[in-house]
């Protein structure tokens, strides 16, 4: 698709301990090996991309990190701590924020409530506070509302829809709300699963700008899965390539992009040109697939 772009390879921020360390992760579903012995590090302050063919195990990797799947073996370290056995909700509290490949917004709530929900793990009020709605619950809600309105909603330019029910939003806006909710989780690492799938070039550019800003202005580390190579190659500092659950390559975008294995398994020729014309000219033989 898009041509390699000459950008200076970014110097990854120098830091000794990785923010997130995946160490020998293996995950199998009734025979299907979704991940086998996957290891890589995510450096604080970086934008790291995980790419790979469909079914390579990228989403499964995210799910394992965020606790939805339990790995068969291997460890996940976050901020130096082994979180492999940590209950799912506590990981969110530690600062793992994420969005979902197949939009997982809560359709019965407004945009604002969806975003508020992201903060859940950081709030303290309990049922009794909630039932009486005095003191802590009241203060907390007010502070939350202020923070979300003034920082996140403004930042992502979604103030016009904040009272709309999410079910009435178009796909692109829903993706944006997903990102807002992930940001409300006050993450130290933001995991985005295909943030620009189904968006056209213009919308993709908007999203790319938000991702860059999240890193630059908020200092949040980003780990993303994405099939839009143009964006991945332009934004990321580090790219990990998975195939059949295994890491087949990792490194700077430029390195990965020229790796023949990656090209064969994932990128393809990158040269669609004028398919129709070629076909008519008989340039594409049967059975290339």
């Amino acid at each position: 698709m898009s041509q390699p772009i000459e950008t200076e390879p970014q110097d990854g921020p120098v830091s000794a301990t990785p923010l997130l360390r995946i160490d020998g992760l293996t995950l199998a579903f009734r025979g299907v090996r979704a991940l086998s012995d996957v290891s890589f590090d995510v450096v604080p302050g970086s934008i790291t991309a995980v790419i790979g063919p469909n079914g390579a195990g990228k989403t499964s990797l995210f799910n394992t990190v965020s606790g939805f799947y339990r790995p068969n073996s291997g460890q996940v370290y976050f901020k130096g701590q082994d979180i492999t056995r940590l209950p799912t909700p506590q990981r969110a509290k530690m600062g793992l924020g994420r969005s979902f490949q197949n939009i997982a917004l809560f359709r019965g709530m407004t945009v604002l409530d969806n975003i508020k929900l992201g903060r859940h793990a950081h709030l303290k009020s309990n049922v009794l506070d909630a039932l009486f709605y005095m003191g802590r619950a009241r203060r907390e809600e007010a502070a939350l509302r202020a923070d979300i309105e003034e920082r996140i909603i403004d930042f992502l330019e979604i103030d016009h829809i904040r009272h709309a029910p999410v079910s009435a939003l178009s796909y692109g806006l829903q993706k944006r709300v997903e990102m807002a909710r992930a940001l409300a989780m006050q993450p130290e690492i933001l995991m985005l699963d295909e943030p620009v799938a189904g968006m056209n070039r213009e919308e993709t550019e908007d999203m790319a700008r938000f991702i860059l800003d999240v890193r630059e202005e908020w200092g949040i580390t980003v780990l993303m899965v994405e099939h839009d190579m143009g964006m991945v190659m332009d934004l990321s500092d580090h790219v990990v390539v998975l195939n059949f659950g295994q890491v087949i390559a990792q490194g700077t975008p430029a390195m990965v992009q020229s790796d023949p294995e990656v090209i064969r398994a994932y990128l393809g020729s990158g040269d669609v040109g004028d398919l129709r014309r070629k076909l008519q000219a008989g340039a594409i033989a049967e059975g290339v697939v």
Binding site: M1, S2, Q3, I5, T7, F29, V32, I51, G52, P53, N54, G55, A56, Q101, A168, L169, S170, Y171, G172, L173, E194, A197, G198, M199, N200, R201, E202, E203, T204, E205, A208, R209, L212, H227, M229, G230, M231, D234, L235, A265, Y266, L267, G268, S269, G270, V272, G273, D274, L275, R276, L279, Q280, I284, E286, V288, V289
Partner: protein
């Protein structure tokens, strides 16, 4: 319209669609698909592309949508009185957004469901081998549950199902969604092949404009429920706005980097 006078397999005339009796999604949209051609339908999120396809295939009612006015004709015959399954049986297949395969059926059973489209076509037999020849991968997984296929395989299955119905026209809604670059290439190659080899017409909704314009003969661009530009694929690919907003080509004619995106944007000319 493109090439007036040619035989149009599909004509959509000035349609308006309303969801839930309040949300107006289409406002007087018209388009045609000439027989044997691929027509691309581009547009931003929420423009109403999927709605257009659903209006054509008659699936609107299932989502509380309603065709308020306008007309649609398939093979010169109005679709207004036809139930969705009748349309399919007459040769109009719709590959829906998000693949919509039957997750708890096997791959093979998914294809069997598609054979219902051949009902009433005088003994036309479903050709499973044809599908497997285009998608050998499906053959390997034919006994497995479709719910566990990877995204690309599911998309193949969705197109395979449509193919099995031996249609004259396929409505394709974002076939590249969530697929790896290589698979996207593969899928589009197959789309182009199916069109070229079997003469199936297609109406293709796609966000990846580069690819869509590479396979299509002609295209439409829609915004807010209306068509804003149309023309041959070559013409659209040359349009400066299309280049900027859909193809990501900067003013200099060079592909723009995502790192250099500005915080303000130029307005699209067709919006003014």
């Amino acid at each position: 319209m493109t090439q007036p006078g040619t035989d149009h397999v599909l004509e959509v005339n000035n349609i308006e669609v309303i969801y839930n009796k309040v949300v107006q999604a289409l406002r007087g949209l018209s388009l045609v698909v000439p027989r044997g051609q691929i027509v691309a339908l581009l547009g931003s999120n929420g423009a109403g592309k999927s709605t257009t396809l659903k209006a054509i295939s008659g699936l609107l009612a299932l989502e509380d949508g309603e065709l308020k006015s306008g007309s649609i004709s398939f093979n010169g015959q109005s679709t207004a009185r036809l139930a969705p399954q009748q349309l399919v049986r007459q040769g109009l297949s719709h590959v829906m957004e998000g693949r919509r395969i039957f997750e708890d059926l096997t791959v093979e059973e998914n294809l069997v469901t598609a054979s219902y489209a051949l009902t009433g076509r005088g003994g036309v037999k479903p050709d499973f081998d044809l599908v497997y020849s285009y998608f050998p991968r499906l053959h390997e997984r034919c006994k497995g549950l479709a719910g566990y296929l990877s995204g690309g395989e599911q998309q193949m299955l969705a197109i395979g199902r449509a193919l099995l119905a031996q249609p004259q026209l396929i409505l394709l809604d974002e076939p590249s969604l969530g697929l790896s670059p290589k698979l996207v290439e593969d899928i589009f190659t197959i789309i182009a092949r199916i069109n070229a080899e079997r003469g199936v017409s297609m109406l293709l909704v796609e966000q990846n404009a580069t690819l869509a314009l590479a396979v299509a003969h002609s295209g439409y661009i829609m915004e807010n429920g209306k068509i804003v530009i149309d023309g041959s694929a070559e013409r659209l690919a040359g349009d400066p706005d299309v280049r900027e907003f859909y193809l990501g080509v900067g003013g200099s004619g060079e592909a723009r980097s995502f790192r250099d995106i500005k915080h303000y944007k130029r307005r699209k000319r067709w919006l003014s």
